[in-house]
Symmetry: C2
């Protein structure tokens, strides 16, 4: 188990988080630079805490960035949005936060919370609420398994902060937060939910920071040995390489605060053999000749063929040579309660979830 | 000076507030019914407090309804939105509110705060921040003369509450609150700004509740004597009857959370003699043959010819026989600082403000 995150870990975690990000969760590149800057500036590591070491009555909060990755890559952050939002919530609650929880381990949202934790002088819990990335805020195990949607805080790069003190449901929270995020310019820091240590332990997907690091280490080892990393990563995650080929079409639009679209990959040896993937910030469903091969909540990630670099949905482009990884979701995402929120039907697809064998962790 | 508002006062205040509302501020009809219900239910009057009797260090807050009147007339309120928002702010600030301040005296927004005051057990200050109604929240004397935009609270009919704890400017507050109001269904309760008694006394437009009552009393007296009330009201408000005639065209759309549009009135004796009025929730500018006759912040109100009933912009329709009242704005709205926010240029009209002689109060 990890004890801390130092400058030696950032590259591996960024790669691993990108692979768990299934195309979303925000840029790992920008947040890795921000994390390395903050580590250098503070001259100390990010302490990593095991979920089971959080006292039952301590207060923790999940944090992350909200918005379309297409926007977050171009709109500059102030850099202290999460810090500002956490302090505002502490002030509102008149209670100190004991530790920072990563809302989604996928993409840059694995790293942004570490920057905030350094600024706040707090540890980060090893785990998260998704084991991957999802586009909407009700789609985490904390909300699925009963955390209260209020209070939650939203902060933008201009220092504006809003605390929602009463909210009817997590879905309502998503609608308000999305609308306000758009008004804030398309990206914002979200602090949600606030939980006790006992709630955290009952709902968190454990050890995903460590998993991201292991995945990244494996990729870096392959690169050092000039081995294509896809098969190695797939094996490490109980998954498989679903397809390899070249991206031949990307249809993309930023709508309602999301990066939505579809891509088509064609096999190297047979142009007619194609894989089609739909995404909403994250890759949602893979089809070939009308057959559904993989859907949420199982993980679908594109990596570059040669060096296993994960490709965010905002970076998809014609001509990229890719491997498509399919990896089983963590078991916490496969209960009936979870599938009602993160299964294919929750995203508007009229198909049942046919789980891949195994669990991510 | 008024000491209280009882069931004997509600009709007159509703008429007077409607006339000061310049077409906006929400339905006086619905809020009058709500106020009468609450007065009966509680069996006591709304205490009215003079601004100068508020202690300098006491905390007060302005309150009102936000949204397009076209929406507020059809979307049911829970009835306790303002109450909920004030209590949430008190809890956030850990301080009790001493008195309720009417954000805008115009329209139903004069009466809604009285309902909330009864629910909260608080008095209402005789005065407001506009002396009329305006479409945007930065357009009151509290914000114009330096009140802090945060914290402010927004609550909807489902009990959802958001407190904005840090906001860069009143204009930014307007954008966030408008966007969230739309997400809340098009209407919401707004509590803003929170002020000390000292700040209140430096910025409030005094005695406008009493003025609304006097205007309403005058209209009711005219009705009892079968006299058309327009000239009487105009004289009472230092204004004039700008035009009488029949509405021959109304162009209306609900856009960006506002009721926007234009109407044309034709004189009874000469169809070609016409008055054209633009509105954004409230009537903004009156023109005839390309000549500007009256603009914000001076007041433009349509009343029915026979009985002086004020006509909200949401109730304009072909065929109504109306008198158009033009009344000078209160002096607090005519400083350079105020005109920058509520003058014709602030609404996108390339004309200077040519004030009518006199002041409303």
């Amino acid at each position: 188990m990890m004890q801390s995150v130092t400058l030696d870990d950032t590259q591996a975690i960024a790669i691993g988080a990108g692979i768990l990000g299934t195309g979303g969760g925000g840029s790992t590149y920008l947040n890795r630079l921000r994390l390395e800057n903050e580590l250098r500036r503070q001259g100390r590591a990010v302490p990593i805490l095991q979920a089971d070491d959080v006292p039952d009555d301590a207060l923790v909060c999940a944090v992350g960035g909200m918005g379309a990755p297409t926007v977050s890559n171009e709109k500059l952050q102030a850099g202290d949005e999460i810090h500002t939002a956490v302090r505002a919530l502490e002030n509102h609650l008149r209670q100190k936060i004991h530790a920072i929880v990563i809302g989604e381990i996928g993409g840059g949202n694995a790293l942004g919370p570490m920057v905030a934790a350094l600024q706040l002088g707090l540890p980060v819990v090893d785990g998260d609420g998704m084991g991957r990335a999802f586009p909407e805020l009700q789609m985490d195990t904390f909300m699925i398994y009963g955390a209260a949607p209020a209070p939650f805080a939203l902060a933008d790069s201009h220092g504006n902060v809003s605390i929602f003190t009463r909210i009817g449901s997590a879905e309502q929270a998503e609608e308000f937060a999305r609308s306000l995020t758009i008004e804030m310019g398309g990206s914002a820091a979200l602090v949600m939910p606030v939980m006790t240590g006992a709630q955290l332990k009952a709902t968190i997907i454990r050890d995903t920071v460590s998993l991201a690091k292991r995945i990244g280490d494996a990729v870096l080892k392959c690169r050092a040995g000039s081995i294509e990393p896809a098969e190695t990563v797939a094996a490490l995650c109980q998954g498989k390489v679903l397809f390899t080929g070249k991206i031949i079409d990307v249809e993309r639009r930023t709508v309602g605060g999301f990066a939505r679209g579809r891509l088509i990959i064609s096999a190297f040896d047979d142009y007619q053999r194609q894989l089609e993937i739909d995404f909403q910030n994250e890759n949602l469903i893979a089809r070939s000749n009308g057959n559904v091969l993989c859907t949420v909540p199982d993980l679908l990630t594109l990596v570059t063929l040669e060096d296993g670099e994960p490709i965010g949905t905002e970076s998809l482009r014609y001509g990229l040579r890719v491997a498509v990884l399919a990896m089983p979701a963590p078991k916490e995402l496969k209960s009936p309660a979870a599938l009602a929120v993160v299964g294919p039907r929750a995203f508007g697809y009229d198909v049942d979830f046919a789980p891949m064998p195994g669990d991510l962790l």
